[in-house]
C-alpha cells in the first residue's frame, strides 16, 4: 500500500478535484489497493460509480490525508473490491443495481436496493425494462441446524421507526444469525441530483436523512465550496458549527432516552424527551426551523443569529446540563438498567476498525476517529472537541460516548456563542470554469458523512454521491447481535441507531 501511495504522490492528480487528490489508476493498482484495504492497511471511506469510472475514497494511517482513486469501467465491468474487502460489498451491490456496472467476481450478486419494483433495471445506467418482482422474493442466506427457527421482522416495524427487514435465525432465545435487508425507502436521490441546480440539489441533500439534515447540508456546502475553491466568512463557519452541535446534542439526548426506554426504564426517556425538546425549541426560535433544515447553504448560512438568540441558547444549555447530569447519574447508578446495557451487543474493535465504522459505533469499540478533529474543517480547525473513546463495544459504551459528546458539544457551543465574530454570513459563488469536483467529510451525530460531487460547466450538479455513516455500521449490527437474546435486539439496534433513509438513498 505504501508503495502505491508513494508512487501516486509522485504523479499529478486529476485536475480540478479538491481538496484531496484524485488519481486514475489501472486495474492492477486498483486490485492491489483493494487487497491492502482487506489487510487493514487503510480505511475504505466510500465507493461509487460515475459514468465510465468507479471511484474509491480511502485514508490510511501513514497518509492521513484522504485520497480518491478511480478505475475505468471496461465492457461494463471493473475489478471487484468486495471480494478482498467485505466492507465494500453492499456499496458494490448498490453500484450494480443503480448503474448496471458489474464488479467482476463479486461474491454476492443478490440485488440490494433494486427490489424489482421500478419496472426497469440500472436507473442511472441503461434503464433496460425488467419484470416486476414480488418484493418478498429475496434469497436470504440459508441456515441449517437442528432446533433453529426464523423470525421475520419488517419492513413495517412495531415502533415509530423507518422500514427495513430483519431476518433472525434463533436457537431458542439466542440469535445465531441476523441478516438485514434494506432499500425499502430508496427514493432515487442520485438520479434526482444529476442535473439539479445547486439550490434544488441542496434541498434534496438536506432530506437524505432528516435527523442529520445539518450535517448533510454542511457536507454538501463544503463539497461545492471545495469544487469552486472558495472559503466562507468566519461568522458563517461558526454558525454552521453552532447548528451542527445543536443537532448532535438533540439527537444524542433522544437516543440516550430511547435506549433506556428499550430497557423498559421510562424515567430517563421522559426526562431526555423534555431535554431534547428544549434544544429543538431553541433551535427553532434561533434559526427558524426546529431541525435547522436548509439553513446551511453553499457559500455560508441562510439564517443569521441575533445576539439575543445566542444568549437564549446559552441559557437553555445552562438549564439543561445540570438536569442532564442527574439523568446520567441515574443511568450510571441503576443496576437493573446497567444489567441490560453492559455486556450487551458487543462489537469487537477488530470489526469496527475493519469496517472503518464512524461515530459512537466506532468510538465505543476503540476506533479513535472523529472528522472534526482528524480532518478538521472550520470552525473545528480552531477548537477541536474532546473525542471520547471506549473499548468495551457494548450498548453501555455507545451510551457513554453519547453522554461525553453531549458534554463536549456544550463546551464548544459555550465558547463559540460567547465570541461570535461579526461580519457577513454568506459569500457569492463564482461561475464554474473548467472541470470542478469537490469532496467533503463532515462529522454528523451518527458518524462521518462523505459527500462527493462533480459540477457541470453550467453550474449544475453533474453527479453527486452521498455516503451515510450507516453504510459502514449496518453490517456490524449483524455481528453485534450474535449470541444475544432476541429481546435485546431493540437495545442493540437503538444503540447503533443507523439511518435507513440515509443508507437507502
Amino acid at each position: 500500500m505504501s508503495a502505491i501511495l508513494s508512487e501516486l504522490a509522485g504523479r499529478a492528480p486529476v485536475a480540478g478535484h479538491r481538496p484531496w487528490p484524485r488519481h486514475v489508476v489501472d486495474a492492477e493498482a486498483w486490485t492491489a489497493i483493494a487487497r491492502a484495504l482487506g489487510e487493514g492497511e487503510a480505511d475504505l471511506l466510500s465507493l461509487w460509480a460515475d459514468e465510465d469510472h468507479v471511484h474509491l475514497a480511502l485514508r490510511s494511517g501513514a497518509h492521513p490525508t484522504p485520497l480518491v482513486v478511480s478505475v475505468g469501467v471496461k465492457n461494463g465491468t471493473y475489478p471487484c473490491v468486495g471480494r478482498h474487502h467485505p466492507a465494500a460489498l453492499r456499496l458494490e451491490r448498490a453500484i450494480r443495481d443503480l448503474h448496471g456496472i458489474e464488479p467482476a467476481e463479486l461474491p454476492d450478486v443478490r440485488p440490494w436496493l433494486d427490489h424489482g419494483a421500478w419496472g426497469f433495471g440500472a436507473p442511472l445506467g441503461a434503464r433496460a425494462p425488467s419484470e416486476l418482482r414480488d418484493p418478498a422474493d429475496y434469497p436470504f442466506l440459508p441456515v441449517h441446524g437442528e432446533g433453529l427457527h426464523e423470525i421475520p421482522v419488517g419492513p413495517v416495524h412495531a415502533g415509530i421507526i423507518e422500514p427495513g427487514h430483519f431476518r433472525f435465525t434463533a436457537n431458542g432465545e439466542i440469535v445465531v444469525r441476523l441478516e438485514e435487508r434494506l432499500g425499502y425507502v430508496h427514493k432515487g436521490v442520485d438520479g434526482l441530483l444529476a442535473g439539479a441546480d445547486l439550490e434544488r440539489a441542496g434541498r434534496i441533500v438536506a432530506r437524505i436523512s432528516g435527523d442529520s439534515t445539518v450535517a448533510y447540508s454542511f457536507a454538501f456546502a463544503r463539497a461545492v465550496e471545495a469544487a469552486l475553491d472558495i472559503a466562507v466568512p468566519a461568522r458563517a463557519a461558526m454558525l454552521r458549527g453552532v447548528m451542527a452541535e445543536l443537532e448532535r446534542i438533540a439527537n444524542h439526548l433522544g437516543d440516550i432516552g430511547a435506549i433506556c426506554n428499550d430497557a423498559a426504564f421510562t424515567l430517563n426517556h421522559a426526562h431526555c424527551g423534555i431535554l431534547r425538546e428544549r434544544v429543538l425549541a431553541v433551535s427553532g426560535r434561533a434559526f427558524g426551523h426546529r431541525l435547522m433544515m436548509d439553513r446551511v447553504v453553499p457559500g455560508g448560512v441562510a439564517a443569521d443569529l441575533t445576539r439575543e438568540d445566542a444568549r437564549t441558547i446559552l441559557d437553555v444549555l445552562n438549564e439543561i446540563m445540570p438536569w442532564f447530569a442527574d439523568v446520567v447519574r441515574v443511568y450510571d447508578g441503576t443496576p437493573s438498567l446497567q444489567d441490560r446495557t453492559c455486556g450487551t451487543g458487543i462489537l469487537s474493535p477488530a470489526l469496527a476498525a475493519r469496517w472503518a465504522a464512524g461515530g459512537f459505533v466506532g468510538r465505543a469499540s476503540g476506533r479513535a476517529f472523529d472528522a472534526r478533529r482528524d480532518l478538521a474543517y472550520p470552525p473545528y480547525d480552531a477548537a477541536a472537541p474532546d473525542v471520547p473513546l471506549y473499548q468495551a463495544g457494548d450498548v453501555d459504551a455507545r451510551v457513554w460516548v453519547r453522554i461525553r459528546e453531549v458534554e463536549a458539544s456544550t463546551q464548544l457551543l459555550r465558547g463559540w456563542l460567547a465570541a461570535l465574530p461579526e461580519g457577513p454570513i454568506r459569500t457569492a459563488l463564482p461561475a464554474v470554469e473548467g472541470a470542478r469536483e469537490g469532496i467533503a467529510i463532515v462529522e454528523g451525530f451518527r458518524g462521518d458523512v462523505l459527500l462527493w460531487l462533480r459540477l457541470a460547466p453550467d453550474g449544475r450538479i453533474a453527479r453527486c454521491h452521498a455516503r451515510d455513516p450507516s453504510w459502514l455500521q449496518w453490517p456490524l449490527l449483524e455481528a453485534a447481535i450474535d449470541g444475544n437474546i432476541v429481546a435485546d435486539f431493540p437495545l442493540c439496534n437503538k444503540s447503533f441507531n443507523c439511518s435507513y433513509s440515509g443508507h437507502d438513498l
Binding site: 412495531a158 415509530i160 436523512s209 432528516g210 435527523d211 433522544g254 424515567l267
Partner: protein, 176 residues
Amino acid sequence: MRTLLLRSLLAPLATTAAPAPGDAALEELGRSLGERARRLYGRSLAIREVDAGSCNACELEIHAINNPVYDVERFGIRFVASPRHADVLLVTGPVTRNMKVALERTYAATPDPKWVVAVGDCGCGCGVFEGSYAVIGAVDKVIPVDLHIRGCPPTPTALLEGLIALVDKVAAAPRD
C-alpha cells in the same frame, strides 16, 4: 434517582397547553368524512405509524408528540404496535415503489372503520422527490386519505392540531 424524582415532583408542569383543533383540519375532515360512519370510541383513537419512504424528519416530530411536553395521550390518542390494533394509519412519504406493497398490506390489515392521515409535504404531495423513478408520490396515490398534515416536517403543534380535529370528528361524535 432521588434528585430526578424530586425534580419531577417539584418542577412546574412540562406539558404545554392543548392547542385547539386546526381549522383547516376540521374543514378537510368535514369534507372527506361526510356522512361516512362515525363511531364512538369514547374519545380514544389507536394510531399505527407507517413510514412509507420518509427521510425520518417526520418520524422525529411524531416521536416528539409522545414526549411529556406535547403528551398526545392526554387527548385519548395512543400509538400501537400493529395495524390490527389501529383505528388510524399515520403515513409519511413519499411512498417509494419499494414500500408500496408493504403499505397496501398494512392498510388491508387495519380493521374497519379506519382513517388515514398523510403527514408531511412528501406524504401530502411528493416534496422534493417529485419526478424520481423510485417514488410513487403522495400517500393518496396508493390508499385513500382522510386528512393531510403538511410541513417539512410538520411541527408537533401542527400534528396535534390535526389529530385533535380527527378525534373530535370521528371519536367524539354522538352514538347513532
